[in-house]
């Protein structure tokens, strides 16, 4: 199934918005589980996003240049006795894409033109 160039899926919008929210709270970089928890909290979901769905979407966003990632310093994980985290952050292009998607979504919902909702 093809989609319009630049169009984001709802899961991708959720990821970018959650990442931006975390950034706004001072969490400059986030790992997969933190992101899944944030999205579940925002959506009031009982279950976290599945591993396959989450990392597939993260990969797509990174390929598109909307996210960037790096491995954290291995010493940090070792010191805390946990596996190393892959840390992501939303790029400038990602922030723009998220804002654009939110604006478009709002325009679709609130379009006052007669029959606009039915036509879309």
């Amino acid at each position: 199934m093809r989609r319009k160039p630049g169009a984001l899926l709802p899961i991708e919008i959720s990821i970018l918005v959650a990442g931006l929210d975390l950034g706004g709270r001072g969490v400059a970089e986030f790992h997969g589980y933190l992101l899944a928890s944030e999205i579940a909290d925002r959506d009031g979901a009982r279950r976290l996003m599945a591993h396959g769905s989450l990392y597939r979407a993260l990969g797509r966003l990174e390929t598109a240049g909307l996210l960037e990632s790096r491995w954290e310093d291995p010493d940090l994980g070792a010191a805390e006795g946990r596996p190393r985290r892959r840390l992501y952050h939303v790029t400038v292009a990602g922030a723009r894409a998220a804002n654009r998607a939110i604006t478009e979504r709002a325009a679709q919902v609130f379009d006052p033109r007669p029959g606009a909702a039915a036509a879309s």
Partner: protein, 213 residues
């Protein structure tokens, strides 16, 4: 911390669906999911969840993502093929050129596998909770029978489409065999048969792919 959720089964699954990809891609996926599972177990433990609840949360989250794991694998293959034919060093488009003839049977097989695995997992969790020991169920329910039929259909369809589409055929055949085996898992024979059929299907697909090139 002694984790109540062994990572090995998830690790095996990751090794299976990333087979054939570059080591760096495989290792990255494995490490990311391993870290994610560790974080989830830590968080749930801190919240006071019991081992059974933690296991159920992690297993169900993993199983729910199996279809996306398979689609991701198809995308990786397609991206690599596109790069090799166009000479591009990196993919820049959000559009993944998915092929309906691959996606539809793939989705059917993936759904069947997920449904079967969820049923078996829930079944065993319930048995474990009730008896505090692992006792595989021995009742082939109507739903199990339906899934068994889907599995067999996938197996037959896989061999039928293998010449035209070797990879799709291999996925269908091995996925179908897996579902059929899972649905009759109290017998060891179907599982062995499923493994043999999968090996034959993969070998045959590789041979056909070589002949094509």
């Amino acid at each position: 911390m002694g984790s109540p959720v062994p990572f090995a089964p998830i690790g095996w699954w990751i090794r299976a669906y990333t087979a054939g990809l570059p080591d760096i891609t495989r290792e990255r996926r494995r490490m990311e999911v391993e870290s994610d599972v560790w974080e989830e177990v830590s968080a749930l433990t801190a919240l006071g969840s019991g081992p059974a609840a933690i296991r159920a949360a992690v297993w169900l989250r993993w199983l729910a993502g199996v279809p996306d794991d398979l689609f991701w694998r198809l995308e990786q293959r397609r991206t690599r093929r596109t790069r090799s034919t166009t000479g591009e060093g990196s993919a820049t488009s959000m559009n993944v050129n998915t092929d309906r003839s691959v996606i539809v049977p793939g989705a059917v097989v993936a759904t069947a596998i997920v449904a079967a695995l969820i049923l078996v997992t829930i079944d065993n969790i319930q048995y474990f909770e009730q008896s505090q020991r692992f006792v595989p169920t021995s009742t082939l329910t109507n739903l199990s029978l339906a899934l068994f039929g889907i599995g067999l259909a996938g197996l037959v369809a896989g061999f039928l489409v293998m010449r035209a589409r070797p990879t799709t055929g291999a996925i269908l055949a091995s996925g179908g065999a897996l579902v059929a085996a899972v649905m009759t898992y109290w017998l060891i024979v179907p599982i062995v048969v499923a493994l043999v059929v999968s090996a034959v299907a993969i070998r045959r697909a590789r041979r056909l792919a070589r002949l094509e090139t």
